[in-house]
């Protein structure tokens, strides 16, 4: 369980995240949605200790993220952000192997190798293991990074806008994979998503943020509702039920 209490981050006088107290359930997929500048990514960065908070605290399974040693947390929680610009030149297998670093600090054991092979197979990267990252397409590279995070084998997997720059097919593939990881491997997946239809289709729980605060939260069925969504995004959003799934329409 991830618990944030009164988490605040300000730049100058503006609070980007403003006293957010939140309890994210264990298991399943939780999506954080909201307009640009709502503080979603900042919140995720603070939960994953990438960014220090000005006020408040975050605990992951009772471990305070600011005081727990980084390598202990690295075995509980992993984070993948959008910009993965890299100067290092690595093969897919090298990258995925880094997922085992929190456990063995670079000396790979047989058990590590098994984890690495599993993660590579899980993301259908077997053909690409010896390719260098700069030789891959955007979608393939994204999959390689997700493989690294899965190889890290943490209970909590945090992803900041994992669908950015992915086409429909790859976006769908990524979400199906995360669903599978949540169902089969028992991971708790927390995502920042912009596409509310993907959020509706794949999430168990949705948290909505706006202007640094949590404005609404609940099961996907409760959140994907014309009144709730319109309030979050300040625009008219219609919701249709198609084949048992709630689909939002907001194109004019």
């Amino acid at each position: 369980m991830i618990v944030t209490s009164e988490v605040t981050k300000s730049y100058g006088a503006t609070a980007v995240v403003d006293g957010v107290s939140l309890t994210l359930p264990s298991g399943g997929i939780t999506s954080i949605i909201g307009p640009n500048g709502a503080g979603k990514s900042t919140l995720l960065s603070m939960v994953s200790r990438l960014m220090a908070m000005d006020k408040g605290s975050v605990t992951v399974d009772g471990l305070d993220v600011t005081s727990t040693p980084s390598d202990v947390l690295a075995r509980r929680l992993s984070i993948l952000r959008q910009e993965n610009h890299m100067t290092a030149r690595l093969t897919v297998r090298d990258l995925v192997s880094f997922g085992r670093y929190p456990y063995t600090k670079g000396r790979l054991t047989l058990d590590d190798k098994r984890h690495i092979d599993e993660a590579i197979t899980y993301l259908n990267l077997t053909e690409l293991t010896d390719r260098f990252l700069d030789e891959l397409s955007g979608g393939q590279r994204q999959r390689a990074f997700v493989a690294m995070v899965l190889c890290q084998d943490t209970d909590y997997v945090l992803l900041d806008e994992p669908l950015n720059n992915l086409d429909m097919k790859h976006a769908m593939g990524m979400m199906r994979l995360l669903r599978k990881a949540a169902n089969e491997l028992g991971k708790t997946v927390v995502l920042v998503l912009h596409d509310i239809n993907f959020a509706s289709w794949y999430s168990d729980y949705i948290v909505a943020m706006k202007q640094g605060r949590v404005v609404n939260q609940g099961p996907a069925a409760h959140m994907i509702d014309p009144a709730v969504l319109s309030d979050i995004y300040d625009m008219e959003i219609k919701v249709h039920e198609i084949g048992g799934q709630r689909i939002s329409v907001y194109y004019e």
């Binding site: 994953s48 200790r49 980084s70 947390l73 690295a74 993965n84 290092a88 030149r89 670079g106 010896d130």
Partner: protein, 325 residues
């Protein structure tokens, strides 16, 4: 086919390292023996000292540049960008300006050396405080601050140099040009001990270098104590740079040359391949270059000019390639 490909990939860094090792040994052998006349014990001990200083500088420059580039996550900037060479010039100029030209020769050279190393490390320690003011682009801030300091130090020393009398200026200028030939043996010993200790410290952290090269976000995600590790590495780097600068004076582009070559020859970014490759390349450049210069061209001048020329070309090529993307 796929298997063949992976096999050639696997053996490539090893092949490169073996070749470089052989080349380095050949250059050392040539340096020690070519054109030797007369008493061997004299020749060997005389050249041995020169060789030792070349090896030390090669090691210090290569390791410091590779680690600095890893920590700052870029392939263009080197420690000399942080204003180290400029500080060296400033310290020396300050000594001559305030204490007179006699001070350069009268202060015990070991004292002077110790002082230079100390001031340089203190300066870099001060700079690194800036690192923690921000979170994201803090290393870029550091580099920018380095550039600003570099300009400040250069202008200050130019200002002082203008006010010196021409005789003192001449003596001073002589110490600025990197010379790989003249070094005091006791300084060599002290430097060797310092460089050895730094190397041991670096080896103990070897596993974290690869993770750091993934960038800040991934390094933290994978459980590296980022602040602490970066500070330690930057201190090690500044000690190495201080030692090599104090030994032979400023060499701006040499580190860039060997680090870039090492990365492109090895083909991947694993530090246990790249670091030794960079050191070996530096040895080949310095020792081999010095041999060529002394024996083949019978041209007893500063090797640094040629190395800086080549390094400068690499630098321009790198900048242009970045711009083209």
């Amino acid at each position: 086919m796929g298997k063949l490909r992976s096999m050639t990939r696997l053996s490539r860094p090893a092949l490169v390292l073996i070749t470089l090792c052989l080349l380095a040994l050949v250059s050392i052998a040539c340096f020690m023996t070519l054109g030797a006349k007369g008493n061997w014990s004299f020749v060997l001990s005389f050249r041995g000292k020169k060789l030792a200083s070349l090896l030390l500088v090669a090691h210090a420059v290569a390791v410091s540049t590779v680690l600095f580039q890893t920590v700052t996550n870029n392939r263009i900037l080197t420690p000399s960008i942080m204003g180290f060479d400029a500080l060296y010039v400033l310290i020396k100029t300050g000594v001559v300006f305030f204490l007179g030209v006699g001070a350069l020769t009268s202060i015990d050279s070991q004292m002077q050396f110790g002082l230079e190393v100390l001031v340089m490390v203190a300066f870099s320690g001060l700079l690194f405080r800036w690192l923690f003011l921000g979170e994201e682009r803090s290393l870029h801030l550091l580099v920018l601050v380095g550039i600003v300091f570099g300009i400040l130090f250069r202008s200050l020393s130019q200002f002082m140099q203008r006010m010196l009398d021409p005789g003192a200026f001449n003596v001073l200028q002589d110490t600025f040009f990197a010379s790989f030939a003249t070094t005091d043996p006791t300084l060599l010993l002290i430097s060797a001990i310092i460089v050895g200790l730094v190397t041991i410290a670096a080896l103990r952290m070897l596993h974290s270098f690869d993770v750091l090269s993934l960038g800040r976000t991934h390094a933290i995600n994978l459980g590296v104590n980022y602040k602490r590790t970066v500070v330690i590495i930057l201190i090690l780097v500044s000690i190495l740079v201080a030692v090599s600068t104090a030994l032979v004076g400023p060499v701006t582009f040499f580190g860039l040359l060997v680090a870039t070559l090492a990365h492109s020859l090895i083909g991947n970014s694993r530090h246990h391949f790249v670091l030794p490759a960079a050191v070996l390349l530096a040895i080949i450049c310095l020792v081999g270059g010095q041999t060529l210069l002394e024996r083949v061209f019978a041209f007893d001048t500063a090797l640094s000019i040629i190395i800086e020329f080549l390094g400068g070309i690499v630098f321009i090529a790198l900048v242009l390639r970045r711009a083209a993307r």
